[in-house]
């Protein structure tokens, strides 16, 4: 199962993951989240330069049947968005941890990372 929840990522309760490198966080949603949503057909993304606090909604994802918000696992400024997803949201289902990344942020406060879970703890929340 660990392949579904890579160990080098941190996880939030709302099923976002974050990969931290040199103060920058790459954020996406977990395999569990995309599976629960079903066929993805639409995403709404923030713009570069937008700033959000930890836990704030920063975008929307829609499947055929469901509408869900994306929440910031940490606060920060958006430095890049994955515009490929606008025309092909299904990339998130096909490759949630790599090609399916959603935004990159400049992390405002490293301390907020302490509130997140490692792979094992996150998987325990799914049982």
């Amino acid at each position: 199962m660990s392949a579904m929840y890579p160990e080098d990522l941190l996880y939030a309760e709302n099923h976002e993951w974050i990969r931290v490198e040199n103060g920058t966080g790459t954020i996406g949603i977990t395999d569990y989240a995309q599976d629960q949503l079903g066929d993805l057909v639409f995403v709404e993304l923030p713009e570069e330069g937008d700033e959000f606090g930890q836990g704030d909604p920063f975008g929307v994802i829609e499947s055929v049947k469901a509408v869900a918000d994306f929440y910031m696992p940490v606060g920060g400024e958006i430095i890049e968005v994955n515009e490929e997803l606008l025309d092909a949201p299904e990339i998130i289902s096909e490759d949630p941890y790599d090609e399916g990344w959603i935004i990159k942020v400049k992390i405002a406060d490293d301390g907020e990372l302490d509130a997140l879970m490692n792979s094992e703890d996150y998987q325990a929340t799914l049982d």
Binding site: G38, D39, V41, F42, E44, V60, E62, V64, K65, V67, L86
Partner: protein, 369 residues
Amino acid sequence: MELDKLKKTPLLECHQKYGGKIVDFGGWALPVQYTGIIDEHRAVRNSAGLFDVSHMGEIRVSGPQALDLVDYLLTNDVTRVSVGQVQYSPMCYPDGGVVDDLITYRVGEDEFLLVVNAANKDKDHEWIVDKADDYDVTVTDESDDTALLAIQGPRAEVILGRVTDADLSGIKFFRFRNGVQVAGCEAMVSRTGYTGEDGFEVYCEPDEAPEIFQALMDAGQDDELVPAGLGARDTLRFEATLPLYGQELGPDINPLEAGLSFFVKLDAGDFIGRDALRSVHEDGPERKLVGFEMVDRGIPRTTYPIFDVEDNEVGHVSSGSFSPTLGKNVGMGFVRTELAEEGTDLQIGVRNRKLDAVVIGAPFYTRKG
């Protein structure tokens, strides 16, 4: 989800075997999807899909005055339905609002089977029993003793043909045969459905439904038959702009504003709601159900508000979705009648933003041939 508390159809184990994702659908444990809504949707458009719709209600009305009662209950003209024929009709309240929409099978001269929406079944039964007081009829709720499978799509006839002795080509659209053999079980087979495709519905004994389901899955293996869930059933009916009770129809919606005037025969015999619907017909409905396509990026969803180009709220979305066949985001909604013309610009309120949309013709999808 606690499966224990939900009503189950006789096919629950079949759904689980094929990987169905079971959800609480109005109190019923039913599969929303197996592999994915879009895959299943496309399979029905291109080959075939097999649905469990055993949750639907079946109410039998029989007796010397069965025709009189059913014709009085329904807005359509039941007197024109011959034995072996099926007819779609709204069933209305005196004020023209809709109790339910249903299909009527004329099983015999004095015998009708009304197939109603699951969520409305008890209400419908009560309504019919109440109206039956003055008639020499027997009304029976047979829902628990009836299972219902739907095989839908261009390959449906070929696949079903492999497991039945019935001459399917002889069953024309909205006709049925009673007492035919399907996979060795006795069944009633009609050329009906809720997908906008050719296809059949198979009524049978609950304990024989799994055998029929499996026989059809086996018979359809080389024709890309897939089990299909309620998610695809909704997107398929939506593309064909078939109304869904609770969204396009309801106690506060009359069939004329919902675009169902073809099924309201004001000049045939009397029926409940006729006076109210006649005056709606004479004055013209204040609002109409329209189809629209999104111009801006966004998906319209049930209850989202609709605005005119001057930002006045003029209605609401009844159903909306990404259309797998069109590859576009489209919707249906009720708007003031003067805005119902094709080409009219509208705005849809999506999460506090107003997104441009335009009225288009319906249905969004019509099968060829």
